[in-house]
Amino acid sequence: MDTYYAFMVDLSVVLAIVFVIIFLAVYYIYSRKSEIVNAADKVGYENPSQFMRDTLSNRPRFLSLSVFLNDDAKSIGIRYLMASIFFFFIAGTFGLTMRLNLTVPNPTLLSAEEYNVLMSEHATIMIYMWALGAAFAFAYYLLPSHLRVTRDSRGLYSSVGFWLWFVGGLLVLYSRTSARWYLYPPLSLQLTASGGGVYNWIDVIGLESVFFGIMITSLNVIMIIWKDRNPEIKWSGLTLFTWAILFTAIMIIASAPPIMVGLAMLFYDFFNPIFFTGASHEVLLFAILFWFWGHPIVYVAVIPYFGLMYEIIPKFTGKPIYSYSSGVIGLALLLVLSEFVWGHHLLNSGLGVGWVLFFSTASFAVVIPSAITVFNYVASLWEAEKVRLTTPMLFVINGVVDFIIGGITGVMQSNQGINQIVHGTYFVTGHFHFIFMGITTGISFAAFYMLFPTISNGRTYNVLLARIHFYLTAVGSLIMAGAWTLGGLIGMPRAVAGYASQFQFYQDVSILGGIIIGIGQLFFLYNIAISWTKEPSLKVGNALEEINPLEVSE
């Protein structure tokens, strides 16, 4: 009894202290906040965070925790940037660990089970948390400037969207799923370590949360572009980046609902299997729902970056982009046509010749807008008298090259003869890593380097380290994805924890590429760290945020 009594006293003292601390913190935050709200109200600001940003020169900074308390659009952008880079390094480490496990035909460091967890997590996190997260980061950060938004009124909704997305990502990580990002039932319904993972149901909840987050965010982004932009800016005066973000958001809202319903049905199937397994089952139905979203998402992961490339190129060529109207038309066609090709992920699944003819022909058609876009980039560089090869520009040029390789290897798969050889092999992995490394990741870094002076309050990054980061990333991904593509041509299967001995050469070369990429990212981290310790030396102001091309100092 005595020990119980003593414990209760201790507990109440600890609780009392915790309550006092929480009370003081809340009191402090709210009293400060009400002062700011009053001050903002006097000068007609609806969002106090925007008031702080505009008048108190309290610019949202990278690596600052205050962006999680402020909810103006630029703070939300920095939130997304920090979160997506956090997830990028987690998923990247998973990817590198997977590579190291494939040095010899049989699993070495990890068991097959652990490998499958890393593979599923790598894909899910990279797509939803890195590719989409970084796209939203640049959208929120750049759109208020590109649209000269004067009234920032969507802070609460943006914050809700961010947290749903972020917590969803953490749940996906926690779930240790091994059902791959496709989540095909019946495998995803096997809640065992050798099937879809013991906690795979958490993955389904996490993904649903991610989807609600990105739906809210997409609606917000559309509303910012449609309603909040400065009335002086006509539709024809939108930047190409704004168009790209608008199309991306429309695509997410158009394609995500089927898989959100599909995930809910999948969750129900955990308790009462009636939809995708069991007596009245239609196993491929989930695959169809999934790819109806799954194919547009891979375009969602490139279209915003196409927009960023359109913004970055003129800054270093000193000339406007070759053709604004064909840029918009290209992106708009990409939005429409890419909704018609999702069936090409299921060409060999028994849905028959008619299915193959429709979707392979549609997959040839989707090349047209991509070709228009690439032509626009190449022509813009061609017409320029002088291209300044700064680090962001190098990333852009590498992105164009990688996109051409990735695009050609992509359209090759529309040919059914080739598809029956390379579907499900590393050829596919190589194809999309060219694009995800060259476009998604490379252009994110390009934009990050361009925004670095602003988001660090006027610091500059070390140019030499940034160059090393670029060359290692570019060369590493070329080696890695190239080896996969060649191996895939002779049938090297993907998503494997081990492989037949004839594929060892290709696997080992790709490991070399993976290690080079990994070392490159260490240079990036080191660069940020040492740049952060330097005193600010620049006036804050950034070319990527301005609508008209300006001189940029690297």
Partner: protein, 148 residues
Amino acid sequence: MNPKTQKEFIFIGVVLAILVGSAVLNVLLVSDISDSVAQNDGAVPAGAYVVHVVGHQWSWDFYSPNGSLTVNTFTVPVNTQVALIVNSSDVIHDLAIPELGIQVYAVPGMNNTVVFEATHTGSFYFDCVEYCGELHYEMRGTLQVVSQ
């Protein structure tokens, strides 16, 4: 039309010509190899050597026409039409024989049929290319093509 737009239209014309050409070639190819495109309950040509394939976690079962079972290996005669009727007893698998250009999903509840003809003898590597759980990578083996 200004010269910029003109250049763009020429480029788009060339791309379109290549794409239309490739798409037409693909349509011709598909109608030529339509037997080898996976089809649920597809037609089996008369006189074909029918192999029933069942994928399960984590090996392939092959039932030859006389009903005998082999695991992760099977034998077919050369220069004969071979029909694979592929099914799965648990999750989705995908049987791929890259050197023969054959690929067919094994889906529970579906009887996917492909027809092919091997033109020379030898052993051909095959594997599962749809991720199916822990030992997915061990679902591989060889197909023996022997003279009649």
